[in-house]
């Protein structure tokens, strides 16, 4: 991905892989722009948060903006006070990891006017055809509309992150292209990229455009 906007918002269905894509995009953004941040605005998910990769991110010089309670034993759906830096610091480019579904996207509403007034943003819908409630384009569009209504920001693009976790094969990704294109046609938005586990990426060469290879975040189990 090139030419990152001031703010890149990652939204999508719960469990579509937003956090993993967001973390990987932050590393990519850092290569292109010195003052880079990743912001975790997830107020829904108790486990598996951006913060799990905090050390790798800060070691790479990426600012991590997240609730001090994320990943702790306290179940407080809190927003980080630092979040205003996302809109106010014009020299900093940020990848924003938004919570899943409309429930997660409500948190973004606080910033929506500032973001849309400035207009220098990308709002990406992360889709995964392997998730049971977004198996077809129609139900995916339904989730998109719910998210837009909740956060009051229209989507600008689609990220096809179809995967089955570690069991994902190149065929799984290839067979999802038609689905992603249908979501694109129904929404009138481009498929900005297809994100795949990095070891699968080479086998997709020539068969799928805009492939973005992902390193999977650490998982102990």
């Amino acid at each position: 991905m090139k030419n990152f906007k001031h703010i890149t918002l990652m939204c999508g269905h719960y469990g579509s892989g937003k956090t993993n894509v967001a973390v990987n995009l932050a590393f990519e953004l850092k290569k292109q722009h010195e003052n880079t941040a990743i912001a975790d605005l997830d107020i829904v998910n108790p486990y598996f948060r951006t913060r799990d990769s905090e050390k790798e991110l800060t070691d790479a010089g990426i600012r991590v903006i997240c609730s001090r309670y994320a990943g702790t034993n306290l179940d407080a759906p809190a927003m980080p006070p630092e979040m205003y830096a996302i809109t106010e610091d014009k020299t900093m480019k940020t990848i924003v990891d938004v919570g899943g579904d409309d429930r997660g996207a409500y948190a973004l509403g606080r910033l929506s006017k500032m973001i849309t007034d400035e207009g220098d943003y990308e709002m990406l819908m992360v889709i995964n055809r392997s998730r049971p409630l977004t198996r077809d384009a129609e139900s995916t569009i339904e989730v998109m509309r719910e998210i837009e209504a909740a956060c009051r920001i229209p989507f600008t693009g689609i990220v096809n992150n179809t995967n089955l976790g570690r069991e994902t094969t190149a065929e799984d990704v290839l067979s999802s292209i038609a689905y992603a294109e249908e979501v694109s046609a129904l929404s009138g938005l481009p498929v900005v990229m297809t994100t795949v586990r990095e070891d699968i990426a080479p086998s997709l060469e020539g068969k799928c455009s805009n492939v973005f290879p992902l390193k999977l975040q650490n998982n102990l189990i």
């Binding site: 486990y47 995967n163 065929e171 799984d172």
Partner: protein
């Protein structure tokens, strides 16, 4: 594209329950199981089912009691502190012989504890779900696939024996995502001639009740119920053995602890240590027989738990204390690492049983 979908453990439980014919869900939100309720809230209205967020856990379990009495498949779910609140209802349902599925996605305790994973409700699930003499069938899944399969199994066993099945998971199992095949086989629910679903003026009234005014009758009910429990202990034990054929050390672990242990066993085997595992799938009835048999073959046992040592008591009972049983644990929301388990294995192998 394979037929598998990527699901959180909590979602797999909810979808499997729907597949099993459950159309009534009552609950109250608590982390880390809230996705079960959220999934039901989205799906139930679309299939003519009932999702109801009750005003409390106590209300929810009593709604379950009501639907069970009407003869329908019904469930509730919660996490540790919420299950404690349901304890009274669990006992009443046992006293009235009502079938249902209760899910506990455990978190650290005691008290309000924390939201991170734990297995410290083992005692509660297997020995003291509430007051009085009663048992629950307790199922312990170790993968998202198994969460789906054991949900179906839980409903079937509950109906078969007219009692509560509890699915005992933990926060990590509930939150982690894995591919699941949802082509689950479901046996239809049996006839329930005892259900309070209307006499249609064609039969005598059925009564759902856990109150007995005559001591002799209450005693007889208890004896009869324990005869049923003995049948279950004979017929329904489930467990999995891993590398036990030549094992000199036996790990006892269920759920998330068994996954960590499996990694540690693989590494220990690479180092030439003969270690295996017995993974109970039913915690009650506890798989006592394989542990008893292993006690004649192995040097020692290691119970790997996310508790201060609860299942270890059943391992000691099952093995009649023939061999030492040591504990390898983390608590309060922490998970033992494969390295910690490996260290315990090496220590046991060197004869340092404690």
């Amino acid at each position: 594209m394979s037929d598998k979908v990527l699901m959180k453990g909590n979602e797999a439980i909810a979808e499997a329950a729907i597949i099993a014919g459950c159309r009534h869900y009552f609950g109250y939100p608590i982390t880390p199981q809230t996705e079960i309720a959220a999934y039901m809230a989205k799906r139930m209205p679309k299939i003519g089912g009932c999702f109801l967020q009750a005003e409390s856990e106590i209300a929810a379990i009593n709604m379950v009691y009501g639907v069970a009495s009407a003869g329908k498949r019904v469930m509730t779910s919660s996490s540790s502190p919420g299950i404690s609140l349901k304890g009274e209802g669990l006992s009443y349902m046992a006293g009235a012989d009502m079938p249902c599925l209760v899910v506990n996605v455990q978190r650290g305790g005691p008290g309000l504890g924390g939201i991170q994973p734990s297995q410290s409700d083992y005692f509660q699930a297997t020995k003291a779900g509430g007051h009085g003499d009663f048992r629950m069938i307790v199922l312990a899944p170790a993968s998202v696939q198994e969460m789906a399969e054991l949900t179906v199994k839980g409903f079937e066993l509950a109906d078969k024996y007219r009692m509560t099945s509890m699915l005992l998971a933990d926060g990590t199992m509930g939150q982690m995502m894995e591919p699941v095949a949802l082509d689950l086989e479901v046996k239809p629910a049996p006839e329930k001639p005892w259900a309070t679903n209307g006499t249609k003026m064609q039969r005598a009234h059925n009564i759902t009740n856990s109150l007995s005014l005559v001591a002799e009758e209450l005693e007889a009910l208890n004896f009869a119920r324990y005869e049923k429990y003995a049948e279950i202990e004979k017929n329904e034990v489930m467990y999995e053995e891993y590398m036990m054929d030549d094992a000199e050390i036996c790990i006892a672990a269920f759920g998330i602890a068994s996954r960590v242990s499996r990694n540690a066993i693989d590494e220990a085997r690479r180092q030439g240590i003969k270690v295996g595992m017995i993974r109970p799938i039913t915690l009650w009835p506890f798989p006592a027989a394989p542990f008893k048999a292993a006690a004649d073959k192995v040097k020692s046992f290691i119970s790997v738990e996310l508790s201060m040592g609860q299942m270890i008591e059943d391992v000691r009972l099952a093995t009649e204390c023939k061999k030492p049983v040591t504990l390898c644990n983390r608590v309060g929301g922490m998970i033992p690492s494969p390295e910690q388990v490996l260290e315990a294995i090496i220590k046991a192998n060197n004869g340092g049983a404690n």
